[in-house]
């Protein structure tokens, strides 16, 4: 069954082979609809952001970077909230489903936080002439990125599924509080020095620019949901494969014992 890898970000896949009735990938009717929706929305966003909306009086063309930077930030924070909620659910209800959700959401959060940093730096270059500025938003995003790397490191280094769920849940549970504390402390810190802060959500833009921004955030949220569903299904299958390997090990060990 060859899959047509189109250049859109949701490559369609051929009909599942007749013999094996089950789904052949993490796609399903729901994700296909959502996928198309995300595609269309990103197309509209591109048109709105790059062509239709006017350049900003003050920022010039670089305001168009906001239409991608701010949605990515919003999606990143949404992913963080999901991770923390999932982690608390894991510790509270020992539920394995939430462990997979938290793990998937954390991975997405790391990708989105990295993109936030990159787009933030690309924004910084024309605006302040330098890639990195110890501005409140960029700094707290950087610390957040390090915390997420710690989460992924814990998840990768623990072999045993049960203890992996517990340990990553404890780190995951602390992500949101950490974000709040880091933001608060960096805000106070930078306000002591009054140097240029990244003009974020409200550069007194309105009209079409504001609409594009909000539309961008909606698109990013849809994209996050789509990615989360697929990543969750991958995590679920990976966990099932691990479980099978375990059952085989038990069977082999028992056969060995009885045989010898």
């Amino acid at each position: 069954m060859t899959t047509r890898l189109t250049n859109t970000d949701r490559p369609g896949d051929g009909p599942p082979a007749a013999v094996d009735g089950g789904p052949h990938s993490t796609a399903s009717p729901a994700t296909r609809v959502l996928g198309v929706l995300v595609l269309v929305a990103s197309g509209v966003l591109a048109v709105l952001g790059l062509v239709a909306s006017p350049a900003d009086t003050e920022l010039g063309e670089t305001v168009r970077l906001l239409y991608v930077h701010v949605p990515v930030v919003a999606a990143a924070y949404l992913a963080i909230v999901i991770t923390t909620v999932g982690s608390v659910a894991v510790l509270w209800k020992r539920s394995q489903w939430w462990d997979l959700v938290a793990g998937s959401a954390a991975e997405l959060a790391t990708l989105l936080t990295a993109l936030t940093l990159v787009t933030g730096m690309i924004w910084g270059r024309p605006t302040w002439g330098v890639f990195w500025v110890w501005d409140a938003r960029l700094t707290s995003t950087a610390v957040l990125f390090l915390l997420l790397l710690g989460y992924l490191a814990v998840r990768r280094t623990t072999t045993d599924q049960v203890s992996r769920a517990t340990r990553s849940a404890v780190v995951g549970m602390l992500l949101l509080p950490n974000v709040v504390i880091v933001n608060r402390s960096v805000e106070w810190w930078r306000s002591l020095h009054q140097d240029p802060t990244l003009i974020t959500l409200d550069p007194k833009i309105d009209g079409l620019q504001l609409f594009t921004l909000v539309f961008g955030i909606a698109t990013a949220t849809l994209l996050l949901v789509w990615l989360l569903i697929h990543r969750f299904r991958v995590a679920w299958m990976a966990q099932r494969v691990e479980a099978h390997e375990l059952d085989d090990a038990i069977a082999v060990r028992r056969a060995e014992a009885v045989g010898s």
Partner: protein, 222 residues
């Protein structure tokens, strides 16, 4: 639960008194760090003098890292993890006990480091009320976070590198708050420092709560 916490804390401190690792290794390490900062920042150009609070607290964080690693290396000896779980001590009591022991060692370190800074960087100490309060609340936060991440990394084969990766970014706001608060204390307007103390308090509370919740689950794994 408090009875168990003091029992564990006294045991940890007695192990430290017997083995003298903190006093013989971590304190000298801290002084080395201070000296290296002085080499790096060339004392008479004033930079060192302005940066003293920051450098002091960076040194404290590194010492905290070593103290936590040491605290859990003691438990890694053969059979101790099993024995601890068989005593039926409440996980929360074990967590508080170990955190208390780390906190006490940190306070001793902070005092010694303080002397080191006064001698090496001839810093004039002032604003004692704010300074002591900052040390106490910050130490509580650092010990709470350190103990939680310490047990989380314990038992994993990459624990030496995992602990710094987990603990130091989490302690970033603590470094910020303690440095600003210390600057305010040493400078003239101590009023400026109190909000930072509030932040340190919130930090300590968040991690103490997380520790009391998470420690039991973390002790459970093989």
């Amino acid at each position: 639960m408090l009875r168990e916490a003091t029992l564990v804390a006294r045991k940890d401190l007695r192990v430290e008194l017997r083995s003298r690792v903190t006093t013989n290794q971590v304190v000298p390490f801290a002084l080395v760090v201070l000296v290296l900062f002085a080499f790096a920042l060339d004392p008479d150009r004033g930079v060192l003098e302005r940066a003293t609070p920051g450098l002091y607290w960076v040194a404290v964080l590194f010492c905290a890292l070593l103290a936590v690693q040491r605290a859990f290396a003691v438990e890694a000896a053969d059979g101790i993890r099993d024995a601890l779980r068989l005593t039926g001590i409440e996980p929360a009591g074990l967590y508080l006990g170990k955190a208390l022991a780390v906190a006490v060692q940190l306070l001793v370190l902070e005092v010694l480091l303080g002397l080191g800074v006064v001698v090496l960087y001839d810093t004039a100490l002032g604003g004692w009320g704010l300074l002591i309060a900052t040390c106490l609340v910050a130490t509580a936060g650092i010990a709470a976070a350190g103990t939680l991440f310490g047990v989380l990394a314990a038992g994993l084969r990459v624990r030496e590198t995992l602990l710094p990766l987990l603990l130091l970014p989490a302690l970033a706001p603590v470094l910020l708050a303690t440095t600003r608060a210390s600057e305010a204390a040493l400078g003239d307007d101590t009023a400026e420092g109190w909000p930072w103390l509030g932040l340190l308090g919130v930090f300590a509370l968040v991690y103490l709560t997380a520790g009391l919740i998470g420690f039991g689950a973390l002790m459970e794994d093989t």
